[in-house]
Each structure stands twice: as C-alpha cells, then as structure tokens.
Symmetry: C2
Subunit: 324 residues, 2 copies
C-alpha cells in the first residue's frame, strides 16, 4: 500500500487491544491506520498454525467476533471438536468449525512459502477489513511462561489448557533475538511518517513486550517524531480481560494502573509520553506524572461500539495535545 498521509500506529495484543483498534478504525481513514499485532502467543496445535491475537483482530474488525465467548467467531459450531474428542484427539484448545477454516487455510499458505504478513493481508482482505493489520514479525517468536514450580509452558498451554492457574516467576520470548519486524512494520518505522503511536490496553508482559523487545522496536518508536500514548490495561486493580493482574501479583508488583506506568518507565525509559487512566484510577494521576508520564483520565472500559469510538477519539486528542 502506498501511503499518502501520516499514519496512526497502534500496537495490540488480543481482546482489549482489538476493541480500541476497532474504535480507531471507526474514525481514522483506513489508509492512515496500521495495527501491529503480537504473535508471541502463536503456536502450532494439531499441525495447525494458530495466531490468537491476529485472529481476534481479524474477527473484531470484520464484525465476526463472538461477543458472548469473547473469542472466536459468532454463529460458531463445535462439530469438529466433538468428533475430535470422540477420536481421542487433543481437544483442550477450543477450535470452532468456522474458526478452523482460518487456521487450515493459513497453515496451507504458510506451508507453500507465503509469509505470515502476506497470509494475514489476504485473510483481512477476504473478510473486508480495510485497516492494515500486520503481525509484528514473520519469524517465529514464542512467549514462554516460566512457572514457580519450575515448569516452562508455551503461552496457550498456560492460558487456555491450564487456565492461567500456574504461578509465574518470569516470561521470555523464544526466538526474539533473531526475529525481524515484518516488512510493513519495518517500512512504516523507516518512513518516519508516524502521526501517533498508541499502545492499546493489552497485557504489558505477554502482548506488548514482545512487540517492543523485538529488534529494539521500543527504541525506534521512542525516536519517532510523535507522541507515544499508552492506555492502561488495568482498571481499578483488575485486568478487564486475561491474566495481567494475576501476573503482576506473582511478579511482585501491585496490580494497579500506576504499577503499569512504573513498569513501562523502568523497562522502556522515555518511551511512553502519555498514559491514559480510567476514571476509577484518577487518584493515581499525580503519581504517574511523577514518573515523567503525562496522565490523562477518561472512561476506558469499552462495552459497546460507542465506548470504543469515544476512547479512540479521546486518545487521539490527547496525543495531539502532547504533540503540541
């Protein structure tokens, strides 16, 4: 795609990030928005390449997401999984009949040599998604969960099979040392044509960190000539989705929005310019400010499309104010 205008870059994990990405897609022209998505959660299961965060983005942006389940496709059926159980197959990962088409098609295209970026672009196009959605990398990066009991689990084994029950002591990203940014992501950074960088309300440790750690992306984004705004994934001490709060406790930090700000300030010094807190955490604004991040308090819980769009508008406005 030849870009004609400065681009809004959003970094996203799965559900929470996809909600804000959908809000952004409502108000930013499709040729001026790129969503770069975590692939550390990807894994191979039953011989199929499964990309949970990319799929969440795809289903959310195409209007196909299952609102009831919070993952997968709407109007989904489970005949495959039922038959697989009967055959004694490995059925712990919920693969709906419609969702399965995504994994089988993607796996077949990857096997014939297509890159994950190219496959992703093709899938998005087929489902009518105009926003550019890009995997962080075409290389293999695997998020590993190191448990307090000494076990090391792939992210989906931890997240889905073991329902986030194991206590964690650390997280690492296998393959990240040699992984390169996907071509579209690389080009966008090299172009210097960024108007806003938004870190969506995604898990800092397993959704955002892989993107930022990859090829020192955080330094490239820090050097970009535009503000970086982060939306807190923790509201009133809780993660709205997923294990972020539980992980924070086990990693010996308070599960608060302030601790999220502290994590970014310590790990990626100078990266985040603006920090968006929920109204429920307004009392932390001053402490966030003391960390060198400009706080902005707004309603961040996205229950419907209006909420998503309102948060996207507030975040872009805040970014513009920071740009001055």
């Amino acid at each position: 795609m030849v870009r004609t205008s400065p681009t809004v870059l959003a970094l996203s994990g799965g559900v929470g990030g996809a909600k804000l990405a959908l809000g952004l897609a409502q108000i930013v022209p499709s040729d001026a928005l790129t969503v770069v998505v975590n692939t550390g959660d990807d894994f191979e299961h039953l011989g199929l390449r499964i990309c949970p965060d990319l799929d969440t983005l795809m289903y959310t942006l195409s209007g196909l997401s299952n609102q009831t389940l919070g993952w997968g496709q709407q109007d989904e059926t489970w005949q495959f999984l039922d038959a697989l159980k009967r055959l004694g197959g490995d059925a712990w990962f919920g693969l709906g009949d419609r969702d399965l088409a995504t994994h089988v098609h993607r796996t077949a295209l990857l096997a014939q040599g297509d890159s994950l970026s190219a496959v992703t672009a093709g899938l998005m196009h087929a489902l009518g998604v105009l926003t550019q959605v890009v995997p962080m990398t075409d290389d293999n990066v695997a998020t590993l969960i190191h448990c307090q009991n000494g076990e090391t689990l792939s992210f989906q084994h931890y997240f889905v099979r073991d329902r986030c029950e194991p206590l964690i002591k650390g997280i690492s990203f296998q393959g990240i040392e040699t992984a390169r940014r996907a071509p579209e992501f690389e080009q966008l950074i090299a172009s210097g044509d960024l108007s806003q960088i938004i870190i969506c309300p995604s898990n800092p440790f397993v959704s955002v960190a892989p993107i930022l750690d990859l090829a020192e992306t955080w330094k490239a984004l820090k050097a970009a000539d535009c503000p970086v705004v982060l939306v807190s994934p923790i509201v009133a001490g809780m993660a709205l989705k997923g294990p972020a709060a539980k992980m924070m406790t086990e990693l010996k930090m308070p599960s608060t929005a302030l601790a999220v700000a502290q994590f970014y300030a310590d790990t990626y010094p100078g990266l985040v310019d603006g920090f968006v807190l929920d109204e429920a955490d307004a009392m932390s604004a001053e402490a966030v400010s003391a960390l060198g991040l400009t706080p902005m308090v707004t309603q961040t819980v996205m229950k419907n499309l209006d909420d998503k769009q309102a948060l996207a508008e507030a975040v872009l406005r805040f970014s513009d104010e920071l740009a001055g």
Copy 2:
C-alpha cells in the same frame, strides 16, 4: 493382535467394498476378518492427509456413514467449508466439520511419526470398530489418471474436482515399485493362515489393482492355500458407484461383468478362482467359466444390511465350495 483362527481376507476400495466388508463383519468373528484397503486414492489437501477409502470403511463399519450422500459422516455440517470459501480457500473437496476431525487428527499423528497402519488402528478402535482394517501400505502410493488430453491428474482431482469428466487413456501408481505391504498385511500373508480371500466389488483399475500390484501381492495371494473369490463391481453393464464402467469404455473394453473377469484373467492369470455375478448378468456365466473362473450367480446389489449380510454369506459359502 495374536490370531487364533484362520482369517478371511477382504480387499476393498471405497463404497462398494465397504458394503460387503460390513456384511462380512456381521457374520465373521472380528478376530477372523481382516480388510485390506486401497490407499492409492489418498492425497494431501490443505496440508491434511486424506484417505477416502479407509475413511469410508471406518464410517461404514462404525455405523457413522452418511447414507444420503454416500460419503462422509452422518449428521454432518459444513461450517468449515463455508468459512473456507469466504476466505478464498481451496474448497472443491467436500470436507464436513466432523469428517475434518479424522483428517486433522490423522495428519497430526503421522507428523509425529506414527505409521498409517497404527493411526488407522487407533481411529478404528476409538470408533468401536472391532474388525481389523489395514491400509495396503504405510508408504506413499498415488494413483495417477492419464487423460486423453495429455493431462495427468491425481485421483481425487479426477474423481471429485473434475467429476470423472476427463476421458482417460491409462492409470499408473506412483511409488508402487518401492512400496511395501503394511506390517499386518505382510504378517497375514506370511502366516499362511488364510481361509478365504475375497475381492470386494470395487473398481478393478483404481481400487483393487493398487493392492494387487503392490509388491506382487497378487502372486502371494495366488500362492495362498485358499480360494480367491471376486465379486463383480459391474452389474448389468453399469458400475453401481463410481467411474468403473466409464473407465472401461474409455480403456476400450466393454463395460460388462464378463470384461471384468477377462481383465483379471489377463492381468493376474490364475489369481481368481471364483467370480460372483449378479443375477442380471447370469447370461455371462458360461463365458466366465470359459475363462477358467468358476462363476456363481446371486443377487449382488446391496441396498440394506440384510442384502450385505446375504451376499457375504453367499460369497463365503461359494468359497467353501471351491475349497472343496
């Protein structure tokens, strides 16, 4: 499995063969029946290993087969295929949601190094099939259809995608020179413990020939100390299922039961002892006899379970008479 009694060996392709195999399974103790199945029709599609004849046997013997379609599973749904079409995937091969579990599970097990025989045994066990069903080989053999227009097609491209429309000029079996019989098939032949050998009413050219040509199996069966009885797949000049009659015409032979007998007498001289013809073809019995095959006329069209069992009984009785 340690066998304690002489074994009935049935050679089978897909639908027609599976019907007689089901009839045999009704009356032969499960530890005294082995069905060896053609794998020349197998192919890889969307990265999945698909074994149409083995699956037809499995679904037929487990009572899961789709009587309406004549292939696949009963109570099948098509959400996967519908979603795949939407993604622009390769959707010419009908993969039902339940059927897909077989292919995905098998492919995953093969990828981890299990043999096709072992995978097949596991699938049959999971579905409660007690009859021993064995692929002819664990090696890759691919039936190729050479068309009069010069094209060469894999069997499923010819059979399903192109609906048997291309005119054929020949058939070959890629990989058959080096393929070995599956271990259970090899052991059964080596044991010499065969009481009956039955060639089911399957396509002579693409279902039975691969089994007989593989490692000169036809010579080993001819040498066995028991009769070989073949049930004609052609009744009143028509194949009850599949392209056998059309192929015969294009291969310049009459599409008759007699021509089937002639084909076996010419190609595998001395192999077939008894030839079972339908009542509709009774007038050919004498000519079959003149080829050196003992004819037996009975009702061979299997519309229900009683028909299947009756034909199985007639075939076994005939074989016993031939054994004298």
